[in-house]
Amino acid sequence: MNLTLRIWRQSGPEDKGRMVTYQVDDVSPDMSFLEMLDVLNERLILAGEEPVAFDHDCREGICGMCGLMINGNAHGPQRGTTACQLHMRQFKDGDTIDIEPWRARAFPVIKDLVVNRSAFDKIIAAGGYITAPTGSAPEAHSVPVAKANADAAFESAACIGCGACVAACPNGSGMLFTAAKVTQLSLLPQGQPERYTRVIGMVDAHDEAGFGGCTNAGECTVVCPKGIPLNTIGRLNRDYLKATAKRGDTPGS
């Protein structure tokens, strides 16, 4: 396959950045998208040019490091798939592919396609934890959990925090991420003590980080590589409404 790539190049946070066109020839359809970028980078290095910086780690679709806007789709055209698990057979010979970083104020570009997602860490720090006793794991059967709740919590817990929801959201909102992190805990007995302070804290941290507001547009769930459903946001909303009704739980009040 011969491809034309238009890639966002930005030498650092202060640089304005621009789309640069590259020609990549002899791409195997069996390559992953990141392997295709590796091939491009090796050629750039041999030519004495600066390689394209992009995030990646496990390349198995479970770590959440990779994240590219491919032709306007977060993680590319294949549903339920991270960019690293996307294969070049999804494209046609002669295609022009636009590759951009996630675009959000809360995710500033560090270099080329690499963005700083520490805004997600701030949301987690604001309530994504439980008051569990430390030490060895307790006997699993000691706290029974309804099967439906366990399944729904697991569905939310599948979130890898890649940021595709923010990238796809027309409002630049990180509500699907926040909702996944809130509900994976609020559905389980271990998550109950902080249930209502958690949702307030995490939504406040989300807003403070500069993410936009959710309008239930539903673009996020389409691109989510882990298929976090949109109704997760409804769970967050319900917890949030209950929490605002009983503000007394909030620290400092």
């Binding site: 966002w8 806007m69 789709n73 636009d98 809360a106 027309p170 936009g212 309008t215 319900r238």
Partner: protein
């Protein structure tokens, strides 16, 4: 957004049902229209209820627009650098047209008030004869008015299709099954409301009401 939207939707339902009275004839429709100005009598002096209702609706509209503006501003601020390759619509089309749709509806409401409430833009414009105003408004030679009404009502339909679902979600609708129900209910409601509103101008256009 959800709470103010619900207030406005309740008004729209009553408005649509009231409009259908046009099929009961001139006397009955005019009688109904005059009663609208006197609701609450004798508990409240005439037109008091009308002004209370207008006040509530105005507050709801202003709050709805204020909330939408705040969301739109946050949304713009949240993505300072835009995508070169703009993402295509992957969610619902209705959801992506809420803001422009809202602006169209607002302009329409202003026109609609000048047309059928104050009568300034109506060929008859007689507040004592609402039936005659409606018939003159949608006369076949004024097809462009009917066209504008149709476009505005369809815009309203799109707005409600996403708005109604989104209101359920904002107020805590949380199960996948409920989501399917809420989406279906929003679609059926939006189509029914559109049909209810559009049947009146088209009845006048085709001569069914004259």
């Amino acid at each position: 957004m959800a709470v103010t939207g619900i207030i406005l939707v309740l008004f729209l339902i009553l408005h649509m049902l009231g409009n259908l009275k046009v099929f009961t004839g001139e006397t009955s429709f005019d009688h109904y229209a005059h009663w609208l100005r006197d609701i609450g009598k004798p508990l409240l002096p005439g037109v008091w209820f009308l002004w209370i209702q207008r006040g509530v609706l105005t507050v709801a509209v202003v709050a709805h627009i204020a909330a939408a503006t705040a969301l739109a501003r946050r949304s713009r601020a949240a993505r300072p650098v835009r995508y070169a390759h703009r993402p295509k619509v992957q969610g619902s089309y209705a959801a992506r047209t809420m803001r422009w749709g809202g602006v169209i509806i607002m302009l329409f409401v202003i026109y609609h008030l000048l047309d059928l409430t104050t009568g300034h833009l109506n060929p008859v414009g007689d507040p004592t004869r609402p039936y005659a105003n409606v018939v003159a408004d949608f006369a076949p030679e004024r097809w462009y008015v009917t066209l504008f009404y149709t476009l505005a009502v369809v815009a309203l339909g799109f707005h409600l299709r996403h708005g109604a679902f989104s209101a359920f979600r904002s107020l805590g609708q949380q199960t996948p099954k409920g989501e399917r129900r809420a989406r279906t209910a929003a679609l059926v409601f939006a189509v029914a409301l559109c049909a209810g509103f559009l049947v009146v101008p088209f009845a006048v256009l085709t001569g069914l009401v004259s």
